[in-house]
């Protein structure tokens, strides 16, 4: 069945699907972003954002999110206190 489907272009063969899924998952596995870069990254983020916005530093989280499956995102949650007055 898989063969006929593939022949008539109806569906990809399951081996083609397997190969594509593997190539994608391995491209992520191989990225190997060391978790240790997150702390300094967070400190730098605080420095830059603080130039514009007053933020709650203790409530900040920065992490990678792989739940999408297709792409890996860097997700930062930064509680905002307000605009920096001295910027205006």
């Amino acid at each position: 069945m898989g063969f006929l489907d593939a022949l008539f272009g109806r569906r990809k063969s399951s081996k083609q699907v397997a190969k594509e899924r593997l190539q994608l998952v391995l491209s992520h596995d191989r990225m190997r972003i060391p978790p240790g870069i997150l702390e300094p990254l967070k400190d730098d983020l605080i420095d830059v954002i603080s130039n514009y916005i007053e933020i709650e530093e203790s409530g900040i989280t920065v992490e990678f999110d792989d739940s999408d499956g297709d792409t890996r995102s860097l997700v930062a949650s930064i509680p905002v206190i307000g605009m920096r007055r001295d910027r205006r």
Binding site: F3, S14, A18, L22, Q23, L26, D29, R30
Partner: protein, 277 residues
């Protein structure tokens, strides 16, 4: 001087122990002296696959702990002139041995004089370490004494992914350029497009190929009996293991043609500089 090989996989149950037993028996058949080391401490299996389970007196941990000499723990296979087994301990766990101790054992094995005659000198040509599954201490032990590494995988998504991880870890252990064994290939599924073929698998993993072992019911029969399948000339898997052994010794052996993968095998032959058919 002997050479230490390790057979490893990442994912469990893909055929490490089967490959170790059969490649070991094949090398012995070819005239080499071989010791198989079961590094799967706590889950030993190589003894039963080889049919040597009733001959064990001492094991690897006894050697490490100094309860016996290395040579005393080596079991000589009576059916194969030159095949030996160093069994794992069954009652301990992986932490009973450290990577340094394992490396010592592999180095000492190269020095063991197997000759039973006075003044004789016979040394091992190959030591093959059967790695446990996983990437933890058992794996680290198994690879620590190795000069060359082999990765075995089935043509399935999860096994190939784990194999990729292992390739990365082997590089970290300075065992670059491992060679791949693809096990349990089913030619009829490859033909219908429902199983990744040889080309897909080595494309993804970007390593060189040692051998392709087909799915073969005789493996189950041979494991039932505790007799390696390389003895069975009508077994395709047996032939494939024999070819793997010959390639390990440096011989150029054409790849077996399995239905469904004909054209690729032919191209592969050319790629490796072998005679095409």
């Amino acid at each position: 001087m002997g050479e230490t090989l390790v057979i490893t996989s990442g994912k469990g149950g893909v055929g490490k122990t089967t490959a170790t037993a059969n490649i070991g028996a094949a090398l012995a058949n070819l005239g080499y002296r071989v010791a198989l080391v079961d590094a799967d401490i706590g889950l030993r299996n190589l003894d039963v696959v080889l049919g040597l389970e009733n001959r064990i007196v001492y094991d690897l941990v006894d050697v490490v702990d100094g309860f016996c000499r290395l040579k005393q723990a080596l079991i000589k296979d009576k059916r194969y002139e030159r095949l030996y087994l160093l069994p794992a301990a069954q009652t301990k766990d992986k932490s009973a041995v450290s990577p340094e101790q394992m490396r010592n054992i592999c180095d000492q094995l190269k020095e063991v004089n197997l000759s039973t005659e006075a003044g004789g000198a016979e040394y091992l040509d190959y030591i093959i370490v059967d790695s446990p599954a996983g990437i933890e201490q058992g794996f680290k032990n198994a690879v620590s004494g190795a000069d060359r590494a082999f990765i075995i995988t089935t043509p399935e998504v999860s096994a190939v992914r784990d194999a990729d991880r292992i390739i990365g870890l082997l590089e970290a252990e300075s065992l670059a350029r491992p060679q791949l064994l693809i096990n349990r290939l089913r030619p009829n599924m490859v033909r219908t497009g429902d199983m990744m073929d040889i080309e897909d698998t080595i494309d993804i993993l970007a390593v060189s190929l040692l051998a392709v072992i087909p799915e073969d019911d005789r493996i189950v029969v041979s494991t039932n009996r505790g007799e390696p399948v390389v003895n069975n000339s009508s077994s395709l898997a047996g032939q494939a293991f024999m070819n793997a052994a010959r390639r390990i010794t440096g011989e150029e052996v054409p790849f077996l043609e399995m239905d469904g993968d004909r054209s690729f095998i032919r191209r592969l032959g050319q790629f490796f500089g072998l005679r095409g058919r």
